[in-house]
C-alpha cells in the first residue's frame, strides 16, 4: 500500500489540475458551443492532454536529471527555493495569460495547454514526489548501488519512472477534464461558472509555497 499511495497522489494531482476551468475543460466547452457540436468538445481533449503532459514532463525530467548530477542537499534547497519563489511571485503579481484566440487547431491547443499548465506551475506541484529522501536511501540500501532513489518510486529507473508518472498524471487530468467538459456542455451549462469558479490560483500558490518549505524540513 505504501508503494501505491504516491501514484495515487500523482494521479490525484492530475485530477486536481483537470478540475481547474483555466486548464482546459472550459475551453473545450466553449469550442463545442461555438461550433454547436459535441464533437468539438472531444476534439479539443487530445491536444490539451499533450500540452499538459509536455509541461509536467519537462519538470519531472529536469528533477530526475538533477537527481543524478546534484548533491541531494543542493537539489532540495534549489527545489524548495523555486517552488516558494514561484508561488510567491504568482501570489503577488497574478498576471493573467495573454493568449488571444478562439479559432484554434491542434497545434494551437497543444501550445495553449502547455502555456497554461506551465504558468500555473502544474509540474512544480509534482516535484516533491521525485526528490530523494534520506530515509528512503537507508531503507532501500540493500537493493544495492542506487544511493539516490526517490523514496516513493524506488523500483523504477529514470526513463520508465518519467513515462509512468506522465501517463498516470495525465490520465487523472484527462478523466476529469473530459467528464467536467461534457457534463457542463450537455447538462449544467456555463452559468455554473458564476457560482462554482473558486479562485483555485490562490490556494494553488499558497500550496506551492508550503510545499517548498516542507521539502526543506523533510
Amino acid at each position: 500500500m505504501s508503494e501505491l499511495w504516491p501514484w495515487l497522489a500523482v494521479f490525484g494531482l492530475g485530477m486536481f489540475h483537470g478540475i481547474n476551468p483555466a486548464m482546459g475543460w472550459l475551453f473545450a466547452v466553449a469550442l463545442g458551443l461555438q461550433e454547436q457540436r459535441r464533437a468539438a468538445v472531444f476534439r479539443a481533449l487530445p491536444p490539451m492532454v499533450l500540452g499538459h503532459a509536455l509541461s509536467i514532463g519537462i519538470i519531472i525530467a529536469a528533477v530526475l536529471l538533477a537527481r543524478v548530477s546534484l548533491p541531494e542537499r543542493t537539489l532540495k534547497i534549489a527545489a524548495a527555493a523555486i517552488l516558494f519563489a514561484f508561488g510567491l511571485y504568482r501570489l503577488l503579481r497574478s498576471r493573467h495569460p495573454n493568449w488571444v484566440g478562439m479559432r484554434v487547431g491542434f497545434g494551437d491547443l497543444t501550445l495553449w495547454s502547455f502555456i497554461m499548465a506551465s504558468a500555473h506551475g502544474a509540474g512544480l506541484m509534482l516535484v516533491p514526489f521525485f526528490l530523494p529522501s534520506p530515509a528512503a536511501g537507508e531503507a532501500h540500501h540493500h537493493h544495492g548501488g542506487h544511493e539516490m532513489h526517490a523514496w516513493a518510486f524506488a523500483n523504477f529507473s529514470g526513463p520508465s519512472l518519467l513515462i509512468a508518472a506522465i501517463v498516470v498524471h495525465t490520465s487523472g487530468y484527462l478523466i476529469v477534464t473530459a467528464l467536467v467538459a461534457i457534463v457542463v456542455y450537455e447538462k449544467l451549462g456555463v452559468a455554473i461558472l458564476r457560482r462554482a469558479w473558486f479562485n483555485l490560483d490562490l490556494i494553488w500558490m499558497v500550496a506551492l509555497m508550503v510545499t517548498g518549505v516542507f521539502i526543506l524540513l523533510l
Binding site: 483555466a22 493573467h96 478562439m102 456555463v190 458564476r194 469558479w197 479562485n199 490560483d201 490562490l202
Partner: protein, 464 residues
C-alpha cells in the same frame, strides 16, 4: 486583491447577462460647454425608480485639470474575463477608465465602495500616452480578454494614423500600440470585435486636425472624412480587409457587433451621405470567410425652411438625420438609432439583420423641431438624441443630447442646454418616455452613459 469567486457582474453569455438585476446608478461623462471655466466631471445619476432621489444627480467627481472633454469611457474589466483562453475572472469590475478626447489624459476612477462617491485613483498624463503609443485623443474603451483596449483618433501632432493602444487591466500601465500591421488603414474612430471569430473591426471619422475646430465643410464636401471600415485579425493584430462604403458616405462611426459570439455580423452607423444628406446603417457580415458590408437602413433628410437652419445647412434646405450613435440589445434583437439632427430616436427589430423592421420612434430636441420632453411639455429643447445606452435586460434605454463640444454649436448655434432621458422599451417592440425621468444639466453637457454593473455596450462574451 483578487476575489475568491468571479465578480458577480461577469456573465458568461449575453443571454445570462439579460437576467442581471436592474441597474441603480448611471455614470455620465459631463463636459463643460465652450466659455465655461469648470473642469469636466463624471456625474452619478440615480436610476433606481424605488429611490427617493430617482432621476437626480447624486454624485460627481471633478477632473483635476481644465479642458479634458470627456467623451467615451469604460470599465477596467468585464465579462470577457471569463473567456476560456485567457481566464482571469477574479478581478473586480470596479474602475472606470475615463479619457479626455481633447487633452489625451486618462483618469482611472474607483466606483467602490460607494458608487455615489467615485474617486480618481490614477491619472495617466498625455505625455505618457504620446511616448508609449505615438497616439493621442483617446476615447472608446473596451475590456478585452487580455488587456484594456483604447481607441485613439490620431498621433500626438493631431495627424494620423489613429488606432488602438492597450492598458494593463490591473496596473493601468500603458502597454503600447496594438497594431502589428495596419496595412493602408489611416483614419480611425470606433472599434469592437467578434471574439468567436478572432476578428476586430474598426471605423473611420477623421484625424484630430480635421475635427477639433469643428466639422470642415470643404473637407466634408470633398469626401475627406472616413468612409470605410476595417477588418483585422484580432489574434495576430494584422489588417485583413478594408470595406469601402462609398466616398459619399461620410463619417462611419459607432460599431455594434452581435453579442452572441457565434454570430458574425454587426451594425455600423454613417452620419451623412453627400448625395442627399440621408444617414444610414450598414450591416457587416461574413460570407465564406470573407467580410462584406451592405446598407440595411436609410434615414432620409427632412425638408426645412432655410431660416430655421444653421449656417452650415442653410443652402441644403433640409435637416440631415445625423446618425451619431447606435446600440444593440444583448439579445441582438433591437437596434436603437440616435438622429442628432432631426431629433428622432428610432428602434428597429433586427432579428433578421438583413431586413430591419422599424418598431418604434420618439422625438425630442432636433435642429428644427425642438421637441419637448413629456415632463415639461412647453419647453423647447436643443440638442438631439445622441449617446444611447441600453440596460442589460433590454427594458430601459437612456440617452443624452451632446455630440462633441466643437460641433454642437455648428448644428445648434444657440447652444445645447444638456439633458438625459430614459425610455421604457416593450419586449415585443415599441418604446415610450419615462415621464418622471428628465435630468437637466445647465453647468455641463452630458455625453456617454455607463450603467453600474454593465450595459449593452460595455461587455463582450465568449459563450453563446
Amino acid at each position: 486583491m483578487p476575489l475568491l469567486k468571479p465578480d458577480p457582474t461577469f456573465y458568461p453569455s449575453p443571454r445570462l447577462a439579460m437576467q442581471a438585476p436592474p441597474e441603480k446608478h448611471a455614470f455620465v461623462a459631463a463636459l463643460t460647454p465652450p466659455g465655461s471655466k469648470l473642469n469636466d466631471a463624471l456625474l452619478v445619476v440615480d436610476i433606481d425608480p424605488a429611490s427617493s432621489t430617482y432621476g437626480q444627480r447624486v454624485g460627481e467627481v471633478r477632473m483635476p485639470n481644465f479642458g479634458d472633454e470627456l467623451h467615451h469611457f469604460g470599465w477596467n474589466a468585464c465579462s470577457s474575463a471569463l473567456c476560456p483562453y485567457a481566464p482571469h475572472p477574479h478581478v473586480e469590475r470596479r474602475y472606470l477608465v475615463v479619457p479626455g478626447i481633447r487633452s489625451s489624459r486618462i483618469h482611472i476612477i474607483d466606483t467602490k465602495p460607494d458608487p455615489r462617491k467615485p474617486q480618481i485613483v490614477k491619472v495617466i498624463e498625455p505625455e505618457e500616452i504620446f511616448a508609449g503609443t505615438n497616439y493621442s485623443r483617446p476615447h472608446t474603451i473596451h475590456c478585452g480578454p487580455e488587456a484594456i483596449y483604447v481607441s485613439a483618433l490620431g498621433d500626438p501632432n493631431g495627424g494620423g494614423p489613429g488606432g488602438i493602444f492597450m492598458l494593463d487591466c490591473e496596473t493601468f500601465e500603458v502597454l503600447g500600440q496594438w497594431e502589428v500591421d495596419r496595412g493602408d488603414q489611416f483614419l480611425h474612430y470606433d472599434f469592437w470585435w467578434h471574439l468567436g471569430f478572432d476578428t476586430l473591426l474598426s471605423s473611420e471619422w477623421g484625424t484630430p486636425n480635421m475635427i477639433e475646430d469643428g466639422v470642415q465643410p470643404d473637407q466634408l464636401l470633398s469626401s475627406k472624412y472616413g468612409h470605410q471600415m476595417h477588418v483585422w485579425d484580432l489574434r495576430r493584430r494584422r489588417h485583413l480587409q478594408a470595406l469601402d462604403l462609398g466616398k459619399d458616405q461620410q463619417m462611419v462611426l459607432e460599431m455594434r457587433p452581435a453579442h452572441d459570439p457565434r454570430k458574425a455580423y454587426g451594425f455600423v452607423g454613417v452620419v451623412v451621405s453627400l448625395k442627399d444628406l440621408s444617414a444610414s446603417i450598414w450591416l457587416w457580415h461574413r460570407d465564406n470567410g470573407a467580410w462584406d458590408v451592405k446598407k440595411v437602413i436609410e434615414i432620409p433628410a427632412e425638408p426645412a425652411e432655410p431660416e430655421k437652419l444653421p449656417a452650415l445647412l442653410k443652402d441644403f434646405k433640409a435637416v440631415p438625420p445625423l446618425v451619431t450613435d447606435i446600440n444593440l440589445s444583448l439579445d441582438d434583437k433591437f437596434l436603437y438609432v440616435s438622429c442628432f439632427g432631426t431629433g428622432e430616436f428610432l428602434q428597429y427589430d433586427v432579428s433578421d439583420p438583413f431586413n430591419p423592421k422599424k418598431t418604434g420612434s420618439v422625438r425630442i430636441g432636433g435642429i428644427v423641431n425642438r421637441a419637448p420632453h413629456p415632463k415639461t411639455p412647453d419647453q423647447a429643447l436643443a440638442g438631439g438624441p445622441q449617446m444611447v445606452e441600453v440596460s442589460r435586460d433590454g427594458k430601459r434605454i437612456y440617452f443624452t443630447n451632446s455630440l462633441y463640444a466643437a460641433w454642437d454649436e455648428q448644428f445648434y448655434p444657440d447652444g445645447v442646454s444638456s439633458w438625459m432621458v430614459k425610455l421604457d422599451a416593450d419586449p415585443n417592440g415599441g418604446m415610450k418616455f419615462d415621464k418622471n425621468f428628465f435630468v437637466e444639466s445647465d453647468d455641463y453637457r452630458v455625453h456617454q452613459v455607463r450603467l453600474e454593473g454593465g450595459d449593452s455596450s460595455s461587455d463582450s462574451y465568449c459563450f453563446p
